[in-house]
Amino acid sequence: MENFQYDILNVLPELTVLCMAMFILLVDLFIKPQNRFVIYGLAQFTLFAAAVFTFQTHTLGVSYAFSGMFVDDSLGDVLKLMTYLGSSIMLVYTRQYQKQRNMFRGEYYAMVLFSMLGMMIMISGQNMLTIYMGLELLSLCLYSLVAFDRDNPRASEAAMKYFVLGALASGMLLYGMSMIYGMTGSLNISEIAVEISNIGQHNPVLIMGLVFVVAGLAFKFGAVPFQMWVPDVYQGAPTSITLLIGSVPKFAAFAITIRLLAQGLYPLAADWQDMLLIMALLSIVIGNLSAIAQTNLKRMLAYSTISHIGFLLFGLMSANLNGFASSLFYISAYVLMTLAGFGMILLLSRKGFEADKLDDLKGLNQRSPWAAFMMLITMFSMAGIPPTIGFYAKFTVLQAAWQAGFTWAVVLAVLMAVVGAFYYLRIVKLMYFDAPTDLCPIHAPIDMQFVLSMNALALLLIGLLPQVLMNLCGLSIVTSLQ
């Protein structure tokens, strides 16, 4: 019984989110449409409560619950806190957009919370089944969220594509897991690592399993050659959902990559390093080159995401603590930048107008100098120009990769960063050098303007003082992986 209490205590944040998501579904049945803001408030409260519980139960050590199915460590806690923060910001940004498109409904908030529950389970999964369960919960919620705007054919198409390819990727991941299970006889991450060390690295079945696992993970990240879904889904989904897909789930994807590759399959590092290297280089090259040709802002950001994932893989493929910590820093920076970037699209959009074309940004400096400045910071941050957080993100992963001996890959990545700078600069050009074509005043709720400003300024401020976030990332990786 004591054991059960201990288990429950470890999953308190998850339980909170689960109960509240179901409660919201119930409340929504009995509430009048004009009082829906209550639901919004409940969702924000849930995130806050989960954050409090996660913070309260935080210890520096690593503890396992449910017979090793579930792990509670610093890495998980940090990632979860970041997930709550990201989700909370996302909810602020999307409220008006949802209202204007008649999508301000209880199911939206319940679905977001369920998807977040999936992410939390992924983050804390210490068993391949737990990880897979979390992943499927997240994915199913995201599929249906993409199609949330039922009458929008593009969104439905995107949802269909996402679902078919996503199911395929889940299948691959599961297949890989089954091979690894077949060889090691265990689903538990820590036991797998021990077993592989006993079996030795050169087992063909294990390598095959590894290939499928890596392919599945790459799909979830959107790394080349598994990137096909990213541009279509980003463009087709309502911007509020794109914001969700593009931001916080990357934390969860990062977590399961760390659990599977850096913990479970670490003895096979030499093999997955090569795979990640190829995917990283391809992602950076194809992502950056394709982004140049885009005219749709959401699609451009999708390709930019692909190239960011390439940089993220640079840190992971270093296969040491320095590299993992730098990847964690990169993913945090990436999520902050993505939130700001899509947040700006949401700020500019209004009823019947999506603001998702590049040309919609024309002359933004004349319409709203403040909004233009926020977008300017975001773009230079994505391009990796100091003094923004994006620079340190690139710097940390590149130095980790250099340390691990990937000299030429670093030089190539740096050259592609110049290509990348071009399309970010083009956005700045549109905002600052061109005359506006759209003269409608920008209306947004005050809380959204405030949070968006804070978000963009954070890119600059963390850029000036990156120490706190760097330490947090380094510490959580070191205490969790040693």
Binding site: L398, Q399, W402, V410, V414, F422, Q467, M470
Partner: protein, 505 residues
């Protein structure tokens, strides 16, 4: 006061940036005059705080002075470490001084988004002073790159018709070089475990590594100077930039590259610097001679001055790579003097452009008849640009040529041709623009310079003649530092191969 004395460099960097932010917050196009005055006050204060760097400088010390150091990013052993020596102090003063000029020069000329314009220059000034005083590689890199952002906006927003092409070209060219420099820093970091410049100076590096490091730095700095053949962004950027942008580009931004050779590329990889010396001298001579010939055929005044800048910067790199004290000091003097003269030349073109909205030489003729006072200044600066003795343009070039004679007669011979070509392109342009009969009705309607323009040009004229007659204030600053620098450059950094018997490996 004590706080100020211990943090002069920090004040010099952050005051203009703070002033820029204040201008952004307070200024607007409706309150144009308030915006201008706030900017001017900010620029003047920022200039005044740099003066103690000159008065407090100890001439006999060749290493860094006014040092400040604080831990910034302990995770990577990165420090907020500032310091200045004889090379950087004159450049810092030049930067803060030029910013004042730019603010005054923009007074009535810029009417669109005044606050953003002024703020961009103030912030840029702080960032460039940061580049000149950073002693930590990452701190330096942050300032170096951050400076691109305001410059990108200045050219893009207030520039000429082809501004978008020019500014994006400028940005990407510079970024490419800078990122390779970042890779070199990452390499050095993994060798020393720190980003401190002094650690890099002391680090023994093998010859092959030094060559790679030097190439990476070369990519970054040669673009900025710019050296032939990576100079093509400069004429585009200059022509499209507003007057203030051209002035800052020519007077300071180009010096960032020259200074960085002295601060990074050469002392970190001295053996590679000697190894590449002949290549660098050849490239410098090509810039001096070939680019001067290119300048001769320009039809656009700004483009002509831009090419003339490249040609004059050739002297700077030539002076560096002869490794003699005279050449080195001559090169630094040339950087300062070029800062004054090129600012003055661009401001003169600005004066004409504001009235006629044309930079084509062919549109002018006989300007002296309608603008006598202005013409007097313009001819003086043209003389200085062609290296007339008694102007500051002569001092640096003469020192470098003297050093070259000792180094190799033919190098000196080719370098000296610039005195002919320089005179040819500058004076020919002056003749076509200022002398002769009044070319057209537009020229006939020109009005002479107003008090504001007079003050700017007169100040610069005083400086150009002053340093031409008495260059001692600059050269005195340089002596100890350049002696220290040359001593460092003469010691090899190639590690002595340890005598471990082959069998034990």
């Amino acid at each position: 006061m004590n706080l100020f004395n211990q943090h002069i460099l920090s004040f010099a960097i952050w005051l203009p940036i703070l002033a820029g932010v204040i201008v952004l917050l307070l200024g607007s196009d409706q309150n144009a005059n308030r915006t201008r005055w706030v900017a001017l006050v900010g620029a003047v204060i920022s200039f005044l705080v740099t003066i103690p760097l000159y008065t407090g400088f100890q001439l006999q010390i060749g290493t860094f002075q006014f040092e400040e150091s604080a831990s910034w990013i302990p995770a990577f052993n990165i420090y907020y470490h500032l310091g200045a020596d004889g090379f950087s102090v004159p450049l810092i003063l030049l930067t803060s001084f030029t910013t004042v000029l730019v603010v005054i020069a923009a007074w009535e000329v810029i009417t669109k988004s005044i606050a953003q314009y002024m703020a961009a220059f103030l912030i840029m000034s702080g960032l460039m002073i940061g580049v000149f005083s950073a002693l930590d590689a990452i701190l330096y890199y942050v300032f170096w790159e951050a400076m691109l952002i305001p410059m990108f906006l200045v050219i893009g927003i207030w520039g000429g018709p082809n501004r978008v092409y020019a500014t994006i070209k400028f940005f990407l060219y510079t970024l490419l070089g800078s990122l390779l420099m970042l890779v070199a820093f990452i390499y050095l970091y993994h060798q020393t475990g720190s980003f401190a410049l002094t650690d890099y100076y002391a680090l023994p590096i093998s010859m092959s590594a030094q060559i790679w490091i030097f190439i990476a730095f070369f990519m970054a700095f040669a673009v900025k100077i710019p050296m032939w053949p990576v100079h093509t962004w400069l004429p585009d950027a200059h022509v499209e930039a507003p007057t203030g942008g051209s002035v800052v580009l020519a007077a300071i931004a180009l010096k960032l590259g020259g200074y960085s050779f002295l601060r990074f590329a050469m002392p970190i990889a001295p053996d590679a610097a000697h190894y590449f010396a002949n290549t660098m001298i050849t490239l410098s001579l090509i810039a001096i001679v070939y680019i001067a010939l290119v300048a001769l055929v320009q039809k656009d005044m700004k483009k002509l001055i831009a090419y003339s800048s490249i040609s004059h910067m050739g002297f700077v790199t030539l002076g560096f790579f002869m490794f003699s004290q005279l050449g080195l000091e001559g090169a630094v003097v040339q950087m300062i003097s070029h800062g004054f003269i090129s600012s003055a030349m661009f401001l003169c073109v600005g004066v004409l452009y504001d009235r006629m909205h044309s930079r084509q030489i062919a549109d002018y003729g006989g300007v002296v008849n309608t603008m006598p006072i202005f013409a007097a200044f313009a001819v003086l600066f043209a003389m200085a640009n062609s290296g007339l003795p008694g102007t500051s343009g002569f001092v640096g070039e003469f020192m470098v040529i003297l050093a070259a004679v000792k180094f190799n007669f033919w190098v000196a011979f080719l370098a000296a041709t610039t005195l002919i070509f320089g005179a040819a392109y500058t004076l020919w342009m002056t003749k076509r623009v200022f002398y002769g009969a009044i070319a057209n009705t537009h020229v006939a309607e020109l009005t002479d310079i107003n008090a504001r323009e007079f003050i700017i040009l007169a100040t610069l004229a005083l400086l150009v003649i002053g340093f031409g007659v008495y260059p001692e204030p600059i050269t005195a600053l340089l002596q100890a530092t350049s002696a220290e620098f040359l001593t460092h450059m003469q010691t090899t950094k190639i590690p002595i191969i340890s005598s471990v018997p082959a069998a034990s490996i």
